[in-house]
């Protein structure tokens, strides 16, 4: 049992903290306040972070990246999220699919896609699954509804797949230079047996970006609609077997488990920010001549915020360690679910502490709560909980 970090882990943590403090935090609230959703991203910030290694952190050293371990990944995501959760997610979204490139792409694909990804500070990655009528069904495939799930159609035409359909709510849908796309390649079977993954560069003919989504939180983090009209993708861009995208084998090491850890670690950063804001305000603000910190109810809230946050940190670090050990358990999913409850309660308590007649809510406190609500559908709605609970029950 050892909770200590090694020197390399601490070095990355400190580098992330410095970047977060000096570069992200100063622009975070202003970016959040930009009304037009496509304008909230700050490419200069992305470039700076990329040059520090945050975009390509998880690509292995042999392949030209930094090869940081999962514990370090969790630390970095938390530190970045402490300044701005959406910025942290913008970077880690690239890691999510970097993991996938390393795990499942063939050498040709790595050559064609990994190299430009490494070379270009503005090259971010995306992943397209959700569609208008294929949302939670993708997460919790219903065994008794064969028509559920991915419906974006891909048909083989010589050495190309021809794509028709749309994807909705796609992270980085409007800015990524490369997408991993789930397409339906067999409609005669349930989608879990009829889906294929393709690599789609953003200059693919027939692909266009639709609407850019205007979210209430995570505003820096881009999200768009993807439209495919007879879009032609070389079969050489196919990952794995046809119809095999969702048939997971033994010892699967794909980005999926990372996604659970990612949302838990990112939420932890928001919790840290909320605790920090709350501890600051209770020592500064006075009420009837006494600091807020003199009030028992304020103290109880501070205690609870820190209790929930430190419990989440303990769990996140355990999950990260398990990932490094390739000892995947149900813990990643459970920690992701917990992150939802924790980040929402902690940010709400922070707002409670900021309450006071005669003033508007602090924008910074408001932002944390808006960002935290994103977890509801990504990490903690009943579908995400049923999915994880199913694993627990099957494992018992």
């Amino acid at each position: 049992m050892d909770f200590s970090l090694n020197e390399e882990q601490i070095a990355w943590q400190m580098k992330a903290r410095k970047f977060a403090e000096e570069e992200i935090r100063p622009v975070s609230l202003a970016r959040d306040a930009i009304a037009e959703p496509a304008d909230t991203i700050d490419w200069e910030l992305i470039k700076k972070g990329s040059q520090l290694g945050f975009r390509t952190s998880v690509v292995s050293k042999e392949q030209g990246g930094h090869g940081i371990d999962y514990v370090t990944q969790a630390l970095v995501m938390t530190e970045l999220a402490r300044a701005d959760s959406a910025v942290s997610k913008t970077f880690s979204q690239c890691w999510k699919w970097s993991h996938l490139i390393a795990a499942v792409c063939n050498e040709d694909q790595k050559e064609r896609f990994l190299k430009p990804f490494l070379a270009d500070d503005t090259f971010v990655l995306g992943f397209g699954q959700t569609e208008a009528n294929s949302g939670s069904d993708n997460r919790l495939p219903p065994p008794d509804a064969p028509n559920a799930g991915v419906r974006l159609r891909a048909e083989l035409d010589g050495d190309h797949w021809v794509l028709n359909g749309e994807k909705q709510f796609i992270a980085h849908g409007n800015i990524a230079k490369l997408f991993f796309l789930y397409v339906r390649t067999d409609f005669s079977v349930p989608f879990t047996d009829g889906t294929t993954v393709l690599l789609i560069p953003n200059d693919t003919p027939g692909f266009s970006v639709g609407k850019v989504y205007n979210k209430s939180g995570w505003r820096f983090y881009q999200n768009g609609e993807m439209v495919f009209k007879d879009a032609r993708v070389p079969v050489a861009n196919q990952i794995g077997e046809t119809n095999g995208a969702l048939r997971k084998g033994e010892g699967d090491q794909s980005g999926d488990m990372f996604g659970d850890l990612e949302l838990a670690a990112n939420a932890l950063g928001i919790c840290d920010a909320a605790c920090e804001q709350a501890l600051t305000v209770i020592k500064i603000r006075q009420l009837r001549g006494e600091r807020l910190s003199a009030q028992q109810l304020v103290q109880l809230k501070i205690g609870r915020m820190n209790m929930l946050t430190e419990a989440l940190r303990s769990y996140v670090m355990r999950v990260a360690w398990e990932h490094d050990q390739k000892a995947h358990s149900n813990n990643a999913g459970l920690a992701m679910n917990l992150a939802t409850d924790t980040v929402q309660e902690v940010t709400e308590l922070n707002m409670d502490i900021h309450d006071g007649a005669g003033r508007a809510m602090e924008r910074a406190a408001d932002k944390l709560a808006r960002d935290a609500f994103i977890w509801s559908h990504l990490a903690g709605d009943t579908v995400q909980r049923l999915k994880v609970a199913g694993r627990v029950i099957r494992a018992a």
Partner: protein, 403 residues
């Protein structure tokens, strides 16, 4: 005799408002521009149209040109309106409640004669309670269960011949940008007094509060009074109501049943949307309302709404029927605080859960669900928040008499 039946008049008013909301308000309220938190335009035409329906003068006696609506009826109206547009509701309800207080209880006969006709006739005539001051500390805090020092407004009123000269500033005053008449609290030689100050009184200035992410409902502004002069006749003596009972917050609605009813209307709109969607949205081969997990959540929301509605109506009826405490029909505890706490906690949760049913659509700014969350969150953190209300309730339970 215990009876939960609404009167025919109450049902008729509710139906009228519900129809008006469906036909006039909702189509405008769900437009993306109104769902945007940064600078949604105040729909003044809708406010005027609702005023034409009598909602601005709701609390005036019928003989005065109003609807003579009691507190419960005003709650019914507020809930219905707010299910359409919370900003429209906030402006109208502030004016309606304050109008009832002023013209019904606090003005002298001369004052009524002077101001009532214009108020009734002018559909753009709104009222504002200018009591809250910068750096005021109305929260209980560590003064819980302790003697509390009396505090006077920093705004002063000095008698000068047949005029009062008022100097000071008031902050985050509901309806200030649209009000034609202000009630201004000020310290005088005789302690705290309240003065009627028309919008055009010399020395009165209003600056609209920036919306800045949407941390108020309706219209809000700061009021500065620089040697502002009003006739001595504008002193509000209170009639049968103590002037010092005027809210020391920026809105008369903060701790009233009508204020909670607005919150309730927002959460109800969220629930109605979620229930409709859950019946339509197919996942797993069937409407999601048929999934236990979603049904369970909707049942929780429906329960919360009924519990809060019960608390708000009880508080409303309590406000108009003090005899029920005397005879033991109602517990002699502050029902308004209970409804405030319940509304703050349960309705925010209800709106969040309702939005969760929509998946990613629940966070989109061009869709209503995120705004319902935002609006109920704003109620939760309005004024001194629910924690403060709980402490006030605790003092009442313990029989503490604040000095």
């Amino acid at each position: 005799m215990y009876n939960l039946q609404l009167s025919e008049e109450q049902l008729a008013i509710r139906d009228t408002v519900r129809d008006f909301v469906a036909s006039e308000i909702t189509p405008i309220a769900v437009q993306p521009a109104r769902l945007e938190p940064f600078d949604p335009p105040l729909p003044v035409e809708l406010i005027a149209a609702a005023g034409e329906l009598g909602l601005r003068c709701l609390a005036l006696d019928e003989s005065d040109g109003g609807a003579g609506a009691d507190t419960l009826t005003r709650c019914l109206v507020a809930e219905e309106l707010a299910a359409g547009d919370v900003d429209v509701t906030a402006v109208l309800t502030e004016t309606a409640v304050l109008g009832g207080l002023l013209f019904g209880q606090m003005m002298s006969a001369d004052q009524r004669a002077q101001y009532l006709p214009a108020f009734v006739d002018d559909s753009a005539y709104h009222l504002a309670m200018a009591a809250q001051e910068p750096d005021a500390e109305p929260g209980l805090g560590t003064a819980y269960h302790r003697p509390r020092e009396a505090s006077l407004p920093t705004t002063t009123a000095v008698a000068d011949g047949d005029e009062w000269v008022i100097t000071g500033s008031k902050t985050r005053i509901a309806n200030a940008p649209v009000a034609k008449m202000f009630v201004v609290t000020a310290a005088s030689d005789a302690g705290t007094i309240a003065l009627l100050v028309p919008r055009d009184a010399p020395g009165l200035k209003v600056s609209e509060t920036p919306r800045d992410g949407g941390w108020y409902h309706g219209a809000m502004g700061d009021v500065t009074l620089q040697e502002c002069r009003v006739p001595v006749a504008n002193l509000l003596t209170g009639g049968n109501r103590d002037v010092s009972s005027l809210a020391d917050q920026g809105s008369v609605l903060a701790a009233t049943p009508e204020g909670q009813a607005i919150n309730l209307g927002v959460a109800r709109a969220a629930f109605d949307a979620a229930l409709d969607y859950a019946k339509l949205r197919i996942q797993g081969g069937r409407p999601i309302v048929e999934h236990q997990s979603i049904g369970n959540m909707l049942a929780n929301i429906a329960g919360s709404l009924e519990l809060v509605r019960g608390a708000v109506w009880r508080a409303a009826w309590d406000a108009d029927n003090p005899q029920a405490r005397a005879d033991g029909s109602l517990a002699d505890i502050p029902h308004a605080l209970i409804s405030q706490v319940a509304a703050a906690d349960m309705l925010y949760r209800a709106a969040k859960d309702a939005a969760e049913c929509f998946g990613a659509m629940g966070v989109m700014r061009d869709m209503p669900m995120q705004k319902y969350i935002h609006d109920t969150r704003l109620f939760r953190h309005s004024g001194n928040g629910a924690s403060d209300a709980r402490l006030r309730l605790a003092e009442a339970l313990a029989g503490h008499e604040p000095r």
